[in-house]
Symmetry: D2
Subunit: 348 residues, 4 copies
C-alpha cells in the first residue's frame, strides 16, 4: 500500500517509544494526565497562542465534526468545497454532530475555494430569512483534497470574507504539517493569524497511531467541546496514550521532519512522472494526481502498484479508452527506492 494513502503507514520509532514510556505505572484518566498539560503547552508555544485550548481525539472525522458542531448551530450552513473531506468522506459526520447543519458547496479550482465564489454564496445566503438555513461556519482544508495548498494569504483572504459576515472559520488540517513544511511559514501564520478560529491538527496521516488535536484559538467554546467529545464517545479514559504520541510528535520538530520527508518523496515522484503522465493539480505537499490510460493502470495494478483512483467512486469497470486518474500519497516513511520502483512500474 505504498502510495495508497498516508494512513497505510505506521509510526516512527520515537512515537512507539513514547507509547511504551507512557505505559509505566498508573495515570489519571480522561485528559487529566500530566502529558496532556505538556501537549497543551507545546501547542500554545508553537502556535504563539497562549490562550488556545487543545483537545485530542483519535480520528479526523471526529476532530472535524466536533469542531464544526461547537461553532455551527443545527440550522447553520457549513461552507466548504464540494470535494472537501467533510462533504465526501465522513458519511455525514458533520451533519450528525451538528444536529443537521447543511454543507453548502463553494466553488473553486484545484480543490481551493475561490474568494469570489464565497462572496457570492454569502450574498445570496438569506441571513435573517427564517425559511433559509443561516450562515454558520467556513471550513477550509489545507492541504486540500486535491493535494494543493493554500498560502496563509489565501486562507486570510477567504477567511476575511467569512469574518465580514460574522462567521467563524474552521481549518481541516489533516495534512496541516505537510502544508506547513511545504510553505515554510509559522503555525500561527497558517492558522489564527489568517483568521482561523478552530483547527483540526492531524497527526494520524503523519506518523501517529490515531491522534488528532483540535486547537481552539478562541477558547470560549472549550467546555461545550468537551461535553460534545464525551457525548460522542471520544473522550479516552487512558488518555495518556494520546498525549504521549502528540507530545513526542511535536517534540524537537518531529512532526515537520516527517512531513518534510513525505513532501520530498512526492516531489521526487512528480519529477519522475513529468513528461510521462498528465499531472492534474499543482502539488502542494505529499499528494499527487495523474492521469494515464486505463491499460497502463491495469498493468501497473497487476505489477503491484498501490494507489487509489480518484474520485474514489471510479473503478476499473469503465470503458477501455477512458483514462483514469490516480491519486498517489507519500508518507513519512516513503523511500527513494519505493518511488523508483513505482516509476519503474510506470515505465512498464
Amino acid at each position: 500500500m505504498y502510495f495508497a494513502s498516508d494512513n497505510t503507514s505506521g509510526m516512527p520509532e520515537r512515537i512507539i517509544d513514547a507509547i511504551a514510556r507512557a505505559n509505566a505505572g498508573y495515570a489519571p484518566g480522561y485528559g487529566t494526565d500530566p502529558l496532556m498539560a505538556e501537549v497543551r503547552a507545546q501547542i500554545r508555544t508553537f502556535f504563539e497562542a497562549p490562550e488556545a485550548e487543545v483537545f485530542l481525539v483519535t480520528t479526523g472525522s471526529a476532530a472535524n465534526a466536533l469542531a464544526l458542531a461547537s461553532y455551527c448551530p443545527p440550522w447553520g450552513a457549513v461552507y466548504c468545497h464540494a470535494l472537501a473531506h467533510i462533504e465526501v468522506d465522513e458519511c455525514g459526520a458533520p451533519e450528525f454532530y451538528t444536529g443537521g447543519a447543511k454543507l453548502t458547496h463553494v466553488a473553486g479550482e484545484n480543490g481551493k475555494m475561490a474568494p469570489d465564489a464565497l462572496r457570492d454564496t454569502l450574498a445570496r445566503a438569506g441571513r435573517g430569512v427564517v425559511h433559509n438555513v443561516q450562515p454558520g461556519i467556513l471550513s477550509l482544508t489545507n492541504l486540500t483534497e486535491c493535494g494543493t495548498r493554500y498560502t496563509p494569504d489565501e486562507i486570510a483572504a477567504v477567511s476575511a470574507i467569512a469574518k465580514a459576515h460574522g462567521l467563524p472559520v474552521h481549518l481541516d488540517g489533516a495534512r496541516f504539517a505537510n502544508a506547513l513544511a511545504a510553505e515554510g511559514c509559522s503555525p500561527a501564520e497558517m492558522s489564527w493569524r489568517a483568521s482561523v478560529d478552530v483547527l483540526s491538527l492531524g497527526g494520524t496521516k503523519n506518523g501517529l497511531m490515531g491522534v488528532e488535536a483540535v486547537v481552539m484559538f478562541d477558547p470560549a467554546r472549550a467546555w461545550e467541546f468537551q461535553l460534545r467529545r464525551k457525548r460522542g464517545g471520544h473522550l479516552w479514559s487512558k488518555h495518556r496514550y494520546l498525549s504521549a504520541q502528540m507530545a513526542a510528535w511535536l517534540q524537537d520538530g518531529l512532526w515537520l521532519e516527517l512531513a518534510t520527508q513525505a513532501n520530498a518523496m512526492a516531489a521526487m515522484l512528480e519529477a519522475g512522472l513529468a513528461g510521462r503522465a498528465e499531472l492534474l493539480f499543482p502539488r502542494g505537499g505529499n499528494m499527487l494526481f495523474a492521469r494515464w490510460p486505463r491499460a497502463t493502470h491495469q498493468q501497473m495494478q497487476q505489477a503491484g502498484a498501490q494507489y487509489f483512483l480518484w474520485p474514489d467512486t471510479e473503478t476499473l469497470d469503465g470503458p477501455d479508452d477512458a483514462p483514469v486518474s490516480a491519486r498517489m500519497v507519500c508518507s513519512w516513511n516513503t523511500t527513494d527506492a519505493q518511488v523508483e520502483q513505482f516509476l519503474g512500474l510506470m515505465a512498464g
Copy 2:
C-alpha cells in the same frame, strides 16, 4: 491511582509487543486489515457464534451508544438500571447516537435489574400508544456498576421478559472478562445463550489502550452499525492497531488471565476489609464498595490512598458525621503489596 479505576492502569507487555509488531510496514485501513479477520475468527470461536459480526471502537461509551442506536429507534425506550453507566456516566451518548431515545429506569437491588420490575415496566409501557415512546431495547451491565454480577441464568431470566415483548437485548460488558472469569462459564452462556443480541466487550479496563469490541450475534444490523460507526467518527484509518491489541488480548486466554488477577486482588482486599468496614454489595469481580467514617476517609486520602467516592457526586464537603462510600477497583496489574499497603492505610 491504584484503586481509583481499572482504567488508570496500563497495558501488559504482550499488548505493547503486539502494537510494536503491528507497526511494521503498510496495512490497508478502516477495518480491512488482516489482523481484524483474526479477531473476528477468535471471537466467533470463543463465543461459539460463527455468524457473529465484530467491530472495534476505542471507548466504552462509543461501543454502548453505537450498539444501542443500531437496535433502538429514536422513539424507543432503553430499559436500564438507574445506576447504569449509559444513564449516569456517558453525558447522554445513548441519547445522542439514538437520536433521542429515552432511558427508562428499571429498579433492582445491588445494581441488578429485578425481573418483576422489568415485567411491570413493560406492562405499563404503552406499546401501540402513539403518545408514548415505544419499548426499544433492554440494556444490562455485567459486572454491574455496583460491582455485582449477573449469573447467566439471571441474564436469561431478565432477557426472556424483554424477548416476550419483542425487544432486543444489549449487554454492556465493560467488565465482561471479569464477570466471565468470576463466573467460570463460557462466553456463549453469558451472552447469546442468555438471549443477548449485542455485546459491548470491553478491553480497555482490562489491559488494552482503548479497544472495545461490539459483538453482534444477530448480524442483520451489521452494515447499519458500520455506517453509524463511521458517521460517529469511530472508524480508525490505522485500524490494525486496534485489531492487534484485541487479537493479542484474546490469544491464549490472556483476557481471562488478566481478569482473574484483578478479581483475586479484589478478593484479597475484601478479606482484609472484612470486619473493619461495612461492605456495600456482594462482590462480583474486581470492584468493591465499602463505607467508613469521613474522618477515616480524610486520613486515608492524606496518606495517599487512591479511590473514588461513590456516587461520584459525593465529595469531601459533607457533614463530618456522615460516612462516605468508597469505590475500589482492582486492575490486572494490582499487586499483593498494593493491597497490603492499602489495608495498612486503613488500619491507620
Copy 3:
C-alpha cells in the same frame, strides 16, 4: 366524550367568527400578519411584559419541545415531574427537539415538584463533570397532570432553586388559563414574577382549534426559536388563522371566562362525587381523579360515560377486584346537565 378530555370539545362561537373574519382577502404569511401584532400586544399587556416575545404553534407538544430546545442544550437535563406531559405523553418530542436532552424526574406529591427534591437532585447533578449531562432547565406544569395547582408562591419557590443553579424555567401551561382562573392572580404573578422564563400558553384545551402561544419573557432566544419553529415545520404560511383565534381568545377576557366555566363544572362534579367515590388529588381547576370499583367502571362505560382511566396504560383487563382510577376533565362547554347525567350514571 364529555369528560374524556378538554380537547374533545369544540370552539366557542366567538372563535369561529374570528376565523371567518380573518378569512377575508389576502394576508401576508408566516407570522407577519397584522393580527399577530395584535396578539403580541395583548400578551405583553396582560402579562405586564413589554419586552416579551410571542410565537404561535398548533400543538402543546410543539410549544413545549420548541421552548425547551431554545433554552436547554443537547447535553442538558430537563428537570420535571415523573408524570409531566413532556415525559409521558409526547413520544419523546423534547428529546427530539433538544437533540437528545435527558428528562430527569424530580419527586413530589400530587404531580407537583417538591422543592427539597429539586434541591437534592441539583446538588447531585454533577455540574462541571464531563461524564454527566449538565443541568439544563426546570420544567413545571400548571395545572399539573394530576389536576392540581401550583400557587405563584409555590412556583416561585421551586424556580428560585433552579435560578440559584443558573437554570432557566419553563412552564407548561396547557391549562394555564384554568390555573389562573382558579387562583385569581395576575398572569404576571403566575409567570415571570415567579421566575418563569418561557411559558407554553395553551389555547387548544380551552376553546381553540389548535393554537398555543410560546411566551418568552427573556427575548434573547427569540430568533433561535423562530428558526427552530420553521425547521420543525411549525411555521404556518396562513398564520393569520392562528393569530385570529388567539386574539379573539384573549379579547375581553374570553380565555378566563371559558376556563372559569370549565373549573366550575369540575367543582360541581367534585361535589356530586363527594362521599360516593375516593377523590385522588386536591382539585386545582377543571380536572378530577377518582377511584371506584372496576364493576362500577364497567357499568358506567356501558351506560355511555366517557372518561379515561389513569394512568393511560391502565385497561379494563385487570383483575375484577382491582379498583380503577378515572380521570374526568371538564371543558369550557361542559354543562350542568352533562355533569348531572354523569353523576346519574355513577349512581347507577
Copy 4:
C-alpha cells in the same frame, strides 16, 4: 398580496362551512375522528389505492420532512433539484427530521431533474462504501419551484432510475392539484403508477387553512410515520378540524376546481405578458416567472403590485441596469379583474 403566493389567499366558503359543521359537539382526538376515516376512504378511492395510508399535518415542511424521514436513514442522501423547496425553503427541516441526511443536488433545466443527471449521480454515489452517505431517497416536486410540470411519464422515467437503485420515491405535491388539473391525468397516474411511494399532497396553497395529506402508497412505514408525527408535535388533538377541511376539499372535485381556476388565471396573465416581458420557464400550472427592467419593477411596486422577486434573496438593492425576475402565483380566488389590473400596472 394578490400574486405574491397562493398561500396569501384564504379559504373558499365550502371549507369554512366544513369547519363550522365539524365544530358541533365532542369528537375523539388525535386522528381517530370519524371524518378522518372519510378522508382516508376518499384518498384511497381517488388514487385507486385501497391499501394507502393517509395522515394529515398542517404545513408542507412537516409533510415533506416527515415523509422523507420515514424512508431515508440519517446516513442517506436525498436526491433533489437544487431549487427544491426541501433544499431552499425549509430551514433544514429534512435534515432535522431525518437526523442529518444529506440533500444532494441533481441537475436539470426548468427546475426538473434530468434523468441522465440522476443516473450519473447514482453511479457515483458510493453505495457500499462506508465513507460515503448512502443513496437514500429520490424527492421530486410537481409543480416544480419554477412553476413547470412533470408529466406522469417524466416522473416515471426519473423514478425508474431510482427504483433500479432500490430507492423509494417521494413527491412534494404542494401544488399537486394544480399539476393534476393542468395535466388532466388521474391521481394514480401522477403518483404510484409513476413509482411514487409517498406523496405530500398539499391543500394549503389551494384553499385550505393549513392542511397537507401525506399519502403512503406503501403502508409499511405507517406506524413509524405516526410516531414521528407525534414526536414532531404534529399530531393534532382536535384533529377533526383538519379532517373536515380535507374531506370538503376532496368532495365533489373541489380541489381540482380550485386548482383549475388558479391555473386559468395564470394562463390569462401569461397571455397578457406575452410580448411585453421575457417569460422564464414553460408554465405548468398557476405560477409564472418573468424578467423585466428594475425600473419597471420599482414603478410596479410603487403602484401596489404584489409579487416576489426570485430567487428570494434578490432585492431591490442591485444595480439599476440589472433586470429582476418576478415570480407571480395565482390562487383559487384570483379574478380576471385582478389579472387585468396587474397587467395595467405593467403597462404603466
